[in-house]
Amino acid sequence: MAISQAMCTSFKQELLEGKHNFLASGGNSFKLALYTSSASLGASTTAYSSSNEVSGTNYTATGSALTNVNPTTSGTTAFTDFADLTFSNATVTANGCLIYNDTNSDRAVCVLAFGGDKTSTAGDFTIQFPAADASNAIIRIA
């Protein structure tokens, strides 16, 4: 059981099938769900599952909605971004998360590993997305 950071393979196929739209206005709704270290997530993950999802104060199963940032390009790289997400006043421990398409059958986008257990106790649990540029953005196609 482990959480391995990866862009889901099914997502790559679904991109070519036009099943994901990251536009801020009129795009799909994406969610982020937190998981414990007992979860088994990685490139082969195809959809959201509640198995080994965290539970705790002020965390609701299925996670929270992300705010899309319009995809853009820099040089020959296209990328998209999300606004940082905070679970406020939360008491949770998570080892990683899954971003998935809530509009389109909960299809998996990517798995993000935190590199260890992260805990908030009656405090903020914030996922800080990387700089939105060609070298660091959360989802990039070069």
């Binding site: 990387p130 196609i141 070069a142």
Partner: protein, 96 residues
């Protein structure tokens, strides 16, 4: 035969957690500045220095007004609590 190689990659997130308190306005101000202003490493040194100075000025202003907004919100919460008869709790909020 022709083919096009496309590489798709994901970035890494950072996780910030707190115990028995929220993140400070200074943290959020930094996040705002990251979103609003980025200065290219390749920019002309003069332009870069001006941009960094501008960023610092804006950061100070954003932080100031963010703190004001928090104080205003606490005043609203304290007012509501007092109106509902929770004077002690209202005073705790005011002292934060």
């Amino acid at each position: 035969m022709f083919s096009v190689d496309v590489e798709s990659t994901i970035g890494s997130v950072e996780v910030k957690t707190t115990q028995n308190e929220g993140l400070k306005p200074e943290y959020w101000t930094e996040r705002i500045m990251e979103r609003l202003i980025s200065v290219s490493d390749n920019a002309d040194p003069m332009v870069k220095a001006q941009a960094e100075a501008f960023k610092e000025t804006i950061q100070t202003v954003v932080l100031l007004y963010m703190k004001q907004a928090i104080a205003s919100d606490r005043a609203t919460v304290a007012g509501l609590l007092e109106k509902q008869g929770h004077k002690e709790m209202a005073n705790i909020i005011r002292r934060l």
